[in-house]
């Protein structure tokens, strides 16, 4: 047993007070002090009484490779169809769904706009979105705390968004886990309401680092809360220097001109990507047709 931490295992992981980790082997009963060090165990050593030879197999694979694969498929789908897809992330209660509903109304069908909703339970959010006039599919994650790319892929099959459209994916309300999961979106949009505290970007850096746009919501309540917008934006830019910031109120519609303009620009880029993709395809088809002609020609066969 380790006389320092009392553990019975002969090998384990320790975290020191300064936050560094190390893995080490104990020589039964010895204390360990001084510099932490990683002692790699030789493959033949084992704690079991029988020493069975073991082999090491190199893997070198990203843990999230599978999700990345599904995300890439989604991204290709969006690109092929000119769909501008956004992943909306935030704490629960930031006003995401109200923002969606107001956006649908303000967008006024200038192009089709569809929604994928993510929650642990119920279809309440999808119902609200449909009532506002947009097509929506609800994903219920059950115990899950985030949407992943495979779930979104399945939802796309049911939803079948139109070409040259906007797709808003409302992630599960959670300022931690969704940061790690690429859904294939063009951008993560993080929504922070002024009732939440301007230091959220310091406390949840992963999410703000993953985002391209920060929407500060509920700005109509600024007179009643101690929220420093510049401070919040500054904290967020520490981990994401290029972050764009827009101030909105889903309640009053304040800031919606700029928010919709941002959406339009993104949609324009998605359309261009589709056209460029089609253009490349057309050119390739022409090349192949010319090649086929050449191969079929009597001169070639002779």
């Amino acid at each position: 047993m380790c006389t320092t931490c009392g553990c019975g295992n002969s090998e384990h992981l320790h975290q020191h007070a300064d936050g560094t980790w190390h893995s080490h082997v104990h020589d039964g009963g010895s204390t360990h002090g001084g510099e932490p060090r990683y002692v790699p165990r030789p493959p033949m050593a084992a704690h079991a009484p029988l020493i069975r030879p073991s082999r090491i197999v190199q893997i070198e694979q990203d843990i999230l490779a599978k999700n990345a694969g599904f995300a890439a498929e989604n991204r290709r789908y969006f690109s092929d169809h000119g769909i501008f897809a956004l992943n909306l992330v935030s704490s629960p209660g930031s006003g995401k769904t109200t923002l969606l509903v107001k956006t649908i109304a303000a967008w006024q069908e200038r192009t089709p706009l569809a929604v994928i909703e993510g929650d642990q339970q119920t279809s309440r959010d999808a119902d609200r979105v449909r009532a506002a006039g947009a097509r929506a599919v609800q994903i219920n994650t059950g115990k899950g705390c985030h949407l992943d790319a495979q779930m979104v892929g399945h939802a796309l099959t049911s939803l079948a968004p139109s070409d040259d459209s906007v797709l808003l994916i409302e992630n599960v309300g959670n300022l931690v886990c969704p940061a790690a999961f690429d859904l294939g979106e063009a951008h993560k949009v993080v929504i922070l309401s002024v009732t939440e505290g301007d230091d959220k970007p310091l406390k949840y850096p992963d999410m703000f680092r993953a985002a391209d746009l920060l929407l500060v919501n509920k700005i109509d309540l600024l007179p009643y809360v101690e929220f420093d917008v510049d401070a919040a934006a500054g904290y967020a830019r520490r981990v994401r220097p290029e972050l764009e910031v827009l101030l909105v109120s889903a309640q009053t519609g304040a800031g919606f001109g700029e928010w919709l303009a941002w959406l339009e620009r993104g949609l324009g880029r998605a359309r261009t990507r589709r056209e460029v993709g089609l253009d490349l395809l057309r050119r390739r088809v022409s090349e192949l047709e010319a090649e086929l002609e050449r191969v079929r020609s009597p001169a070639h066969e002779a």
Partner: protein, 113 residues
């Protein structure tokens, strides 16, 4: 917590590699987890134990190697160490940083028996 999703993905990777190498058991899994990545090692240990129960990696040792964070600092024009997200450049104090290393979550190798 998402460490559960990560542990499930790890198990898939490990099982596939074990099958490809005709192994019956996995005795150890070595991970590289960057200091700037989105994972809490304690939670990952807990979830790994839970998901591997009954699998061919049941009882496998989980070893986590922490890799340090690194970023390109624009004002310095150089790569600098970065202990955590949200920290400034340790040399000049700027936040104009672009992460270059230390955010990976990788299965490096497994021991099979």
């Amino acid at each position: 917590m998402h460490e559960l999703a990560l542990a499930e993905s790890m198990l898939e990777i490990v099982e596939r590699a074990a099958r490809q190498n005709s192994a019956e058991r996995v005795t150890a899994v070595r991970l590289e987890i960057g200091a700037l990545s989105h994972v809490e090692p304690d939670a990952l240990h807990f979830c790994f134990d839970a998901v591997t129960h009954g699998s061919l990696a049941d009882g496998a040792r989980l070893e986590i190697v922490r890799t340090p964070g690194q970023a390109w600092c624009m004002p310095c024009g150089d790569t600098v160490p970065l202990a955590a997200l949200g920290q400034p450049c340790p040399v000049c104090g700027s936040f104009q940083l672009s992460i270059t290393d230390g955010d990976a979550m990788r299965v490096k190798e497994i021991e099979i028996g």
